[in-house]
């Protein structure tokens, strides 16, 4: 099976602050993987290293087998990795439709286009001409997911997508993540909401102090079982 993302001994920094201390992580095509851990352990820094926001001083990042050299902010998207960032980062001066079109900047062909995204999230079509930031938190999350899908990624990284959302909205999102996963797109779900992890991913990785300290298979695990791993 081909690999869509491989991190080898990844060490990442913000300025002089050494955040990641040798992360090893592999995600195969079509696989869904969870990354869990408490606040401040470096989960988002993993994403930021892939996006060139955090500086990688040691270690390697491979996307679909190709090593990322001189990482630019746009490199990952161009190689098939889309990110739904923490805080959604909707562009406020663009309409909903324009935010979605921005997601297709890399112009990779595939299943996802405006019609498909609108079919998945009808509310976005209804309000397509309004500014993205006029939406509720849950709807903005849908827009961020739709924008990421517009790139037709091989890997979709979701950074704390349930943050600040009502449980009923999180349930809807879980169904959508499963649908995306079933469409063949690999998923890396970074979450503290363990019930969402259990419903979406097949494998989990536990982070602590900038390292992956535990791994396992979600199948058969319940939330309490996962919680024990986080407490390590």
């Amino acid at each position: 099976m081909s690999t869509v993302l491989e991190l080898k001994e990844l060490n990442a920094h913000y300025g002089d602050a050494h955040i990641l201390h040798g992360i090893n992580l592999t995600i195969d095509k079509g696989e869904s993987v969870g990354l869990i851990g408490r606040n401040g352990v470096g989960k988002t820094t993993v994403v930021n290293a892939i996006l060139g926001v955090a500086t990688v001083r040691r270690g390697e990042i491979f996307i679909s087998g190709k090593k990322l050299e001189r990482i630019k902010h746009y490199s990952a998207a161009r190689q098939g990795v889309s990110v739904v960032p923490q805080g959604r980062m909707i562009i406020p001066n663009l309409t909903i439709e324009e935010n979605l079109i921005l997601g297709s900047a890399v112009q990779r062909g595939g299943k996802w286009n405006l019609d498909e995204v609108y079919a998945l999230f009808p509310i976005l079509k209804e309000r397509s001409a309004t500014p993205g930031t006029a939406l509720s938190g849950g709807q903005q999350q849908m827009l961020a997911i739709g924008r990421a899908l517009m790139a037709n990624p091989d890997l979709l990284i979701l950074d704390e997508p349930s943050e600040g959302l009502a449980p009923v909205i999180v349930d809807q999102l879980a169904e959508i993540f499963v649908e995306v996963k079933n469409s063949g797109t690999s998923v890396l779900l970074i979450e503290q909401n363990l019930s969402l992890i259990v419903r979406v991913v097949g494998k989990f990785n536990v982070m602590a102090k900038g390292l992956i300290v535990d791994r396992g298979v979600v199948s058969g695990s319940d939330v309490r079982e996962l919680h024990k791993h986080i407490m390590i």
């Binding site: 746009y74 998207a77 960032p85 562009i91 663009l94 921005l102 997601g103 900047a105 924008r147 790139a151």
Partner: protein
């Protein structure tokens, strides 16, 4: 008389919007307040003068200036604005003001300190009668150029993919880049367009105002007033402000000569007290 004054106001407002739109685009993308913009206008006018004198074609001069200034703009972005964008605003002001002085010195070295004038293209010479008074065709053509530039920029920003990327990057460059957009390339292109517009303004103004090494500083002040009144980084606001400042300057010169040069600054003061973010107060 009033009609002619209104038209004269539109002429100066059109020059200002061509200049200010470049400033707005550059600030919107790079967050750099470009004091060197006036010198790009001056450089454009002088290069246009030389090309026109050599080839006897003002149209060719316009094309050559457009091309050369775009290259200069792209190089400025790559080697200067890109580095300056995250620096202290004081550093930005000092460097871009330094560039203004350098460009002025270059112009004085090549063309000297004498004033020059450039003839209008033959087809645009002469005048037409408006309200019983003659009005130069060339001045009308400046209004048309201003309208065309504004319309083209509006359509480019609002109806094209690259325009969408420009608007997105002006608000959130990081998120825009993580969607796969090379925002450095977008910014370089936008600065190139801004510099080309300054050059166009210089060539367009050359038959209407005389060429002097200080001509850049003169229009730069009014252009900054326009950008501040319109709202830093707002294209629509700059357009409205350019038209208002153009009218203030021309009506002031006729009806309030003693305070005419102060009127734009008074307006800026009022706008800054009333709405510090400017008329529009938003990004590109």
């Amino acid at each position: 008389m009033i009609t002619l004054q209104l038209l004269n106001g539109l002429v100066y407002g059109s020059l200002l919007i061509i200049m200010a739109s470049g400033l707005v685009l550059i600030y919107g993308l790079r967050r750099v307040v470009n004091f060197a913009h006036g010198s790009l206008y001056m450089l454009g006018a002088y290069i246009g003068y030389s090309v026109s004198a050599y080839t006897n074609s003002q149209w060719l001069a316009l094309l050559v200036v457009c091309f050369l200034m775009a290259i200069i703009g792209y190089l400025l972005d790559k080697f200067c604005f890109k580095i300056l964008q995250d620096r202290d605003p004081i550093a930005t002001v000092l460097v871009t003001y330094g560039l203004l002085l350098v460009f002025e010195d270059i112009v004085q070295t090549i063309w000297g300190k004498a004033n020059y004038s450039l003839d209008a293209p033959e087809i645009l010479r002469g005048s037409i009668e408006l309200s019983g008074m003659p009005f130069p065709i060339y001045r009308l053509s400046i209004i048309i150029v201003g309208v065309l530039v504004t319309a083209c920029l509006f359509l480019w920003l609002n109806k094209t993919r690259i325009g969408l990327f420009v608007r997105a990057a002006s608000t959130d460059p990081l998120t825009t880049a993580t969607q796969g957009v090379n925002t450095d390339w977008v910014s370089g292109s936008v600065v190139a367009i801004g510099a080309a517009l300054a050059g166009i303004a210089g060539v367009v103004a050359a038959p209407f105002l005389s060429l002097a090494p200080t001509m850049g500083s003169d229009i730069l002040v009014d252009s900054f007033v326009v950008v501040v009144i319109g709202g830093l980084g707002s294209f629509g606001g700059a357009f409205a402000a350019a038209m208002i400042v153009g009218q203030l300057q021309t009506f002031g010169a006729v009806y309030a000569q003693d305070v005419a040069s102060l009127l734009p600054f008074l307006l800026m003061l009022v706008v800054l007290i009333w709405k510090p973010s400017g008329i529009a107060g938003s990004r590109v």
